[in-house]
């Protein structure tokens, strides 16, 4: 793909979707669903009042806090589980049982534990990010080819050196993959958490715009904001995968 196509094709596709959007509003004669220009005006209104910036910041802070906690707890735990087969056999069934429970199902418990507020939201994000990080890290360490370990031993590495110079770098692509999956889920979950547990952030914006005045222009503005930031986060973390020392672990093209 040529560089200009990279920009031009998505812009063209976006224009088509917007055109369909406008046409659909006109044809259906809806009075509830806003036109793109109304959404744009709504966004400007929010930005003018200063709430857009502060809501985005609040959402990102919650994601940042919960995600960081998950990373700090999840990577060491995943490494330990990958390294000690006995630990994996003991704890992995439990982890794999908890993992498919949607973080949203934890909302009541998180409110009981932390009350209505930031902590509850951060806890939900933590849960959402924790399981993919642990699972990917564990698999990454477990699947390090035996011959890398043997080669490390052959060169006279101690256990600590073997971990630092062979196991960790060998597992790193999988760990980064886990980080990426977790970030995507965390961003999904923050919106839901903010609808219930707090009174700021993009999730709150959406639920509040609907409840307070059926302002669907603001609802859609909030949704688009969430989408754009999600895209930016994913693009940013994908950059990690293109680092030269990591690229071997990802199949590009």
């Amino acid at each position: 793909m040529k560089p200009w196509e990279r920009i031009a094709l998505p812009v063209a596709a976006g224009a088509v979707i917007v055109a369909i959007w406008i046409a659909a509003v006109h044809v259906s004669g809806t009075t509830v669903f806003p036109l793109p220009q109304r959404v744009l005006a709504g966004t400007q209104e929010l930005a003018g009042k200063g709430v857009l910036g502060s809501y985005v910041r609040d959402s990102l802070m919650r994601v940042g806090a919960g995600y960081l906690l998950a990373l700090v707890a999840g990577i060491p735990l995943g490494i330990a589980l990958g390294w000690y087969p006995l630990a994996a056999r003991s704890f992995n069934p439990l982890i794999q049982m908890l993992r498919p429970i949607s973080p949203l199902a934890w909302i009541p418990i998180s409110i009981v534990l932390f009350g209505v507020g930031d902590e509850a939201a951060v806890f939900l994000i933590f849960l959402a990010s924790f399981f993919p990080i642990v699972t990917q890290t564990m698999n990454g360490v477990k699947e390090v080819p035996e011959m890398f370990r043997l080669a490390g031993l052959n060169f006279g590495l101690s256990a600590a050196q073997l971990f630092r110079r062979v196991l960790f770098p060998a597992a790193l692509p999988q760990i980064v993959m886990g980080l990426r999956i977790a970030l995507g889920i965390a961003w999904l979950v923050v919106v839901a958490a903010e609808m219930i547990a707090v009174d700021s952030g993009l999730g709150y914006l959406i639920i509040d715009a609907r409840n307070a005045g059926k302002r669907y222009d603001l609802v859609v503005a909030g949704m688009l904001m969430i989408g754009l930031i999600g895209l930016a986060l994913d693009t940013a973390i994908r950059r990690l995968e293109t680092l030269r020392a990591l690229r071997w672990g990802f199949r590009h093209e």
Binding site: P145, N154, F155, A245, W248, G249
Partner: protein, 269 residues
């Protein structure tokens, strides 16, 4: 049967007392794998002596236990019974004085060519590390690729990189398990030449596993022919042709045909 006789038959390393030039001595080695209650007898009573600086090929059918034997000698696996001694000392585990080059690519994909070659040099001062890296980069023909990552190299280059990484720590033995098995036939031929050149320059003792008869005749001082499982040593053939070897010489063809017979293959396809 007197006790003395018993000792003679049981202990190859004692019955052929280690002379100064004996590098490796394998004596009465057996290996049985046990899995799911079933046991597979892989190696049976292996006796083998390798001299210092010798190039020995281990030849045998697939699945007979060549890799297993090499793993035992390399210290990665223990024998079920028997003794393995290198320089008169029992092998207790892997050792940087003896480097194993793996059948599959064992280079570390997260390190550059330079990073791979200096991997085992962490105990050396920086200037010595750099000196060795540049020496071996040159020797294996990877000049200009120092900063490349393995996934940016061809299969043959990766294999040379792994050999360079092994040589850089200045081991006195190299274990190579079908190192050229995955390469195309032209690269394979070139790599054999390179390995011989390096072996002649550095005088390492080399144990080289292969199931390629031609390869063994081209490379080895002696070819150890193993039988199918449970593997015993059927015979050991001296390859008495000086290097560089003429691949169409009468002696070469004779030795190769002898090995074909030994393995029990017809001379026609």
């Amino acid at each position: 049967m007197g006790p003395r006789r018993l000792e003679l038959t049981l202990d190859h390393c004692v019955s052929y007392p280690a002379s100064n030039s004996t590098k490796l001595c394998v004596s009465g080695v057996n290996k049985t794998f046990r899995r799911d209650g079933k046991s597979v007898h892989v190696l049976e009573d292996i006796d083998l002596t390798v001299r210092e600086g010798e190039f020995v090929c281990i030849l045998g059918p697939s699945g007979c236990g060549k890799s297993t034997l090499l793993n035992i000698v390399g210290g990665f696996t223990t024998a079920t019974s028997g003794r393995v001694e290198i320089d008169g000392e029992p092998v207790r585990g892997p050792d940087p004085r003896r480097i194993f080059v793996f059948q599959e690519r064992g280079v570390f994909p997260w390190l550059t060519v330079e990073g791979n070659i200096s991997f085992g040099l962490f105990k050396l001062p920086k200037h010595e590390r750099e000196r060795r890296v540049s020496h071996y980069v040159h020797m294996v023909g990877l000049k200009g690729f120092e900063q490349s990552y393995p996934h940016e190299l061809s299969g043959g280059m990766k294999q040379r990189l792994e050999v360079a990484r092994a040589l850089a720590v200045n081991p006195d033995m190299l274990f190579l398990d079908e190192p050229f098995g995955a390469l195309d036939s032209i690269t394979r031929l070139l790599m054999r030449g390179e390995l011989l050149r390096i072996w002649q320059a550095e005088r390492k003792t080399i144990l080289f596993v292969t199931h390629d008869i031609d390869e063994s005749v081209q490379l080895a001082d002696r070819v150890v022919v193993m039988s199918a499982r449970p593997a015993t040593i059927r015979t050991i053939i001296d390859i008495d042709i000086p290097h560089p070897r003429e691949l169409s010489s009468r002696r070469y063809l004779e030795l190769r045909d002898g090995l074909l017979d030994e393995i029990g293959l017809a001379h026609k396809v």
